[in-house]
C-alpha cells in the first residue's frame, strides 16, 4: 500500500481510494463503501469496501473468486490493508467491481414491480445457476445471495442483466436477513451460521426468486423469531409463497429450492434439468409430526419437536426448570409419542448421570437431540457446527462467548452432535477431527495455547487480536513482521515485548514449521532475556515463512532485547565483536541472521572453553603470587639456603679445577 496524492489511499499499488467520498448506496451493514479508481485502467469502474474490522474476511474466497470470470458476478480483484487517514489506523479494504446500475432492492422492505415467470427464469434463475456452478467448481459458497445484493448491470432495469454482489467482506451468511437463511441457520447467531454448502445458496436463491416474484419481502414486518416460527409451522415454501400467486410452472422449482430438508433440496443438477425443460411433479415436503397437545414455553404453545427445541433454547432458565421437573419428558411421551426423540433425549441426560440437576450442557444436548439439524445452542451461544469457530472469531471480545466455547470443547459436545446426527456433510466430520486435535491445546493455559490457539487454528481468516495491533490489521502470517516493523519505527523505545499470547498462538496456528520448542521456552522463561530469545525465534519463523520484507527497525528492537545474551560470552573482545556484527545485521533486517549472531553455539562453546583456560591461568598466577609472598616473608632462610647451594657449586667447581691441576702437576 502506498499513500496517494492529496490524502487518497492506494491499495495494492493500483487502486486509489478516496476516504472523503463515501458511497452509501453500496454500504453493506457495518461495511462502508468509498469511491475508488483503478490507476492502471481508468475505464474500469471500482469501489472500495471498508469492512467491519471486528469481522474476519473471507480471504480464501477472495483468492478463489479471482479465477471466476462471470458477467453476472461483481468481481473482487483484490484486498489490501491500508492506512485509513480519517481514523489514523490501518484497515483492510476490498476492491469491488462497480455495477453500472442500481440495486434491485434498495432495502429489505423495498417494493419493486414483480417479475413475471419468463424474466425470473431468464434474468435470475438461469444466470445464477451458471454462476453457482462456477462458484462450486472454484470451491466457494457465496452465502450472500439475496435480493438486496443484486444489481442491474445497466440503467435499463427491464433489460439489464442482473449481477450478484460481493460475498467476502463478512463471514458467510452473516449479512443475510433471517428470511434468506434456512430454518436451522436462521436459529443461529448471524456469526455462527457457518460456511454452509451450495444447498444454502440454492435456498437463498429460492427466497430471492420469491422476493422478485412477489415484488417485495413476503414476510416483511415479522420479527426474526416470528419468521422462524412461521417457517417451522408452515415450512419455508408455505411461509414465503402461500399468499403469493405462483405460476404453476414455477411451483416445482420453488418447492425444490425451498425444501427445508437439505438432503431433499434441489441440487445444481436438478435445477439445470428443470431449466433445460424437464418437468416433474412438485414434491411436497414431509411436515414434521405434531404433538397431540402443546408444550407451553414462555407463554406460547409449541407442537413440534423442532419448535419446542427452539423455544427451550430461547427461554433457557425456564427450560432448565421444565426439564428438571420432567415436563418435557412428559410431553414427549404423551404428547408427541416419538420414540426416537424420547430415546435421544434420555441418552442426552444419561451422559451426566451423576448430576442431580440439569445443567447447561445437558440442556444443550437435549435441544440438539430434539432437533439434530439445528445449531448447537447454549444460552446466547448459538451456532451451526461449522459456525462455532466463526462465532468465536466474531465475538471473541465477549467473555461469556469464550467461556461457552471452552465448555463446548471440554464437554465434547461436537462429538455428541456427530453421534446424534448421521446426516452431516463430510467437511463437518473433518472439522470435528480438528476440534479433537485442538482439545489438548485448549486445555493448556501456556502461552501459544489456550483459546487463542483455537481462535487462529479454527478460523484461518481471523485477524490477530494482539493489543500491539490495535491500530493495525494482521490476518495473514506475511503481514505480521511488517506490522511489527511499523510499530518498531514509531514506538521502538516503548516496546517491551514483541510476542504476546495472541501473537504466539497466531504464529503457531499459521506457520508450517512447528514452534513447540519456542513455546516451551517462553513458558519456562525466568527473566526478560529468557523470553526474548525464543520470542525472536518465533518472529524469525514468521518472517521466513511469510517471506516478509526486511525489518531493520524491528531487528533493532530485537537486538536491544537480546543485549543480555551477550553476557553469556565471557570474552569482552568477543562481546564487542558480536555487538558490532549485530548492529550490521540489524540494518539488513533479517531476524534469522540476528539470532544466528547472538545465539552462535559454536562461538559460545569456544568462548566457554577459553574462559576455563583463562580461569585456570589466573588460578595459577594466584598460586605463584602466594609462592612469591612466602619467599618474601622467608627471604633470610631462603637466601641462606640458596647461598649454601651456590657456595657448594662454586666450591665444587674450584675443587675440580684444583684436583685436575694437582694431578697434572704431580703426575706429569
Amino acid at each position: 500500500m502506498t499513500a496517494g496524492t492529496g490524502g487518497a489511499v492506494v491499495a495494492s499499488d493500483r487502486y486509489q481510494i478516496d476516504p472523503e467520498r463515501p458511497l452509501p448506496e453500496y454500504d453493506e451493514g457495518s461495511s462502508r463503501a468509498f469511491a475508488a479508481t483503478d490507476l492502471r485502467d481508468g475505464g474500469s469502474g471500482v469501489y472500495a469496501i471498508l469492512p467491519d474490522p471486528n469481522l474476519p474476511l473471507r480471504l480464501t474466497a477472495i483468492t478463489r473468486l479471482r479465477r471466476i470470470d462471470n458477467v453476472n458476478l461483481l468481481h473482487t480483484p483484490t484486498w489490501d490493508v491500508v492506512h485509513w487517514p480519517t481514523e489514523g489506523r490501518r484497515r483492510p479494504v476490498i476492491i469491488v467491481e462497480r455495477p453500472k446500475g442500481q440495486r434491485l432492492f434498495a432495502t429489505p422492505d423495498a417494493r419493486i414491480d414483480p417479475f413475471r415467470e419468463e424474466p425470473l427464469v431468464r434474468r435470475l434463475l438461469q444466470p445464477m445457476a451458471v454462476l453457482i456452478e462456477e462458484l462450486t467448481y472454484a470451491g466457494v459458497v457465496h452465502r450472500n445471495i439475496r435480493a438486496e445484493n443484486l444489481y442491474f448491470d445497466g440503467t435499463e432495469i427491464d433489460r439489464a442483466p442482473i449481477m450478484l454482489g460481493e460475498c467476502v467482506s463478512a463471514p458467510g451468511g452473516y449479512r443475510q436477513p433471517i428470511v434468506y437463511e434456512t430454518i436451522e441457520c436462521g436459529m443461529a447467531h448471524p456469526a455462527g451460521r457457518g460456511e454452509g454448502s451450495v444447498a444454502n445458496d440454492f435456498y437463498a436463491l429460492g427466497v430471492t426468486a420469491a422476493f422478485l416474484l412477489a415484488g417485495r419481502n413476503p414476510l416483511a414486518g415479522l420479527s426474526d423469531e416470528a419468521v422462524i416460527a412461521e417457517k417451522l409451522s408452515k415450512g419455508s415454501f408455505g411461509a414465503l409463497l402461500n399468499s403469493a400467486r405462483i405460476p404453476s410452472a414455477l411451483i416445482e422449482v420453488f418447492r425444490g429450492l425451498l425444501n427445508d430438508d437439505a438432503a431433499d433440496r434441489w441440487s445444481l443438477e436438478q435445477l439445470q434439468m428443470w431449466l433445460g425443460g424437464r418437468r416433474g411433479t412438485p414434491k411436497q415436503q414431509i411436515r414434521p409430526s405434531k404433538a397431540s397437545r402443546p408444550l407451553e414455553i414462555g407463554g406460547h404453545p409449541y407442537l413440534t419437536a423442532r419448535s419446542v427445541a427452539e423455544a427451550l433454547s430461547r427461554h433457557w432458565d425456564e427450560a432448565l426448570n421444565l426439564v428438571q421437573a420432567g415436563t418435557v419428558d412428559d410431553w414427549l411421551r404423551r404428547g408427541l409419542a416419538d420414540e426416537d426423540r424420547i430415546e435421544a433425549v434420555n441418552n442426552a441426560k444419561e451422559i451426566d448421570e451423576g448430576a442431580e440437576t440439569i445443567n447447561d450442557t445437558t440442556l444443550t444436548r437435549i435441544c440438539f437431540a430434539l432437533d439434530p439439524s439445528a445449531p448447537v445452542r447454549m444460552r446466547n451461544f448459538r451456532a451451526m457446527l461449522d459456525g462455532i469457530a466463526m462465532l468465536l472469531a466474531c465475538r471473541y471480545t465477549e467473555e461469556p462467548v469464550r467461556a461457552d466455547f471452552v465448555t463446548f470443547v471440554r464437554q465434547r459436545l461436537i462429538d455428541y452432535c456427530l453421534g446424534v446426527n448421521a446426516r452431516l456433510r463430510p467437511d463437518i466430520y473433518r472439522l470435528a477431527g480438528a476440534f479433537d486435535r485442538l482439545a489438548p491445546s485448549i486445555a493448556r493455559d501456556d502461552i501459544g495455547y489456550g483459546i487463542e490457539r483455537a481462535l487462529y487454528t479454527l478460523s484461518p481468516s481471523a485477524h490477530c487480536r494482539s493489543p500491539l495491533f490495535e491500530r493495525d490489521y494482521v490476518a495473514e502470517l506475511y503481514q505480521l513482521v511488517p506490522a511489527l516493523e511499523r510499530l518498531a519505527q514509531t514506538r521502538a523505545g516503548a516496546l517491551d515485548t514483541l510476542v504476546d499470547r495472541h501473537i504466539a498462538a497466531f504464529v503457531a496456528a499459521r506457520a508450517k514449521a512447528p514452534i513447540t520448542p519456542e513455546l516451551r521456552a517462553l513458558r519456562d522463561a525466568k527473566d526478560h532475556f529468557d523470553f526474548a530469545l525464543p520470542a525472536a525465534r518465533i518472529l524469525a519463523i514468521a518472517q521466513d515463512e511469510g517471506m516478509s520484507s526486511a525489518a531493520p527497525a524491528l531487528c533493532g528492537v530485537v537486538a536491544t532485547m537480546l543485549e543480555p545474551a551477550l553476557e553469556r560470552f565471557h570474552n569482552r573482545n568477543t562481546r564487542d565483536a558480536i555487538r558490532s556484527r549485530i548492529k550490521e545485521i540489524a540494518a539488513t533486517g533479517s531476524i534469522h541472521a540476528l539470532i544466528g549472531a547472538v545465539d552462535d553455539h559454536e562461538t559460545l562453546l569456544i568462548d566457554d572453553e577459553m574462559f576455563h583456560v583463562a580461569a585456570d591461568e589466573y588460578a595459577n598466577t594466584e598460586q605463584r603470587r602466594e609462592r612469591l609472598e612466602y619467599e618474601r616473608k622467608n627471604r633470610v632462610s631462603i637466601s641462606r639456603m640458596v647461598s649454601s647451594q651456590v657456595a657448594s657449586l662454586l666450591s665444587g667447581t674450584i675443587a675440580t679445577v684444583a684436583v685436575l691441576v694437582t694431578i697434572l702437576v704431580k703426575l706429569i
Partner: protein, 163 residues
Amino acid sequence: MTDATEKGNSPPKRRIGSIFLWLLAAAIVCAFYESILLLVIGMIPTGIALALDRSQHKDQARSVGYLNFAGCLPWAVDFWVSGGNLDRVFEIVGDPLVLAVMYTAAATGWALCFILRPFVAAYLAVAVDYREGQIKKRQDELVAEWGEEVRDGIAESAEAEAD
C-alpha cells in the same frame, strides 16, 4: 601372600649385599689404611661441617668438603706416588704448613657460604619484585579480557579440588 613372600625374599638379599659392602670396606681399609688415615686427619673440618650442617642436602658441608679435599689431594698424591708407610703419614700431617693448607682450603669453602649470602639475598629481592610485577600485569590482562568472573574461577577450582 605375594607381598609377604616378597618381604621374606628381599631382606636376605639386602643383608647379603650390605655384608658384602662392609666386608669390601673393611678390606679397603685394611689395604689402604695409611692413605685413609691421611685423608681422615686432613678432612677433619669436613667432618665437623657435616655434623653441624642440619640442612637436607648438606650444601654447606659440601662446600667445605670439596675444597677441603682439594687441599688434601696434593699430599695424598705425593704419598701414593712416593709410596710410604705410617711414619710418612705422620710426617706429612706433622708439618703445620700442610695442615694449614688443608684447613685453610676447608675454611675457604665455609667462607664462601657466608660471603655469598648478601649477594644472593639482594638478587632474590629483585627477582621476587620483578616476578610479582609480571604476575600482576598478567592478572590485569586476564581480568580486562575475561571480566572479574575469571577470578571466580579460582573459587570454583578450589571447590572442585575440595570435592
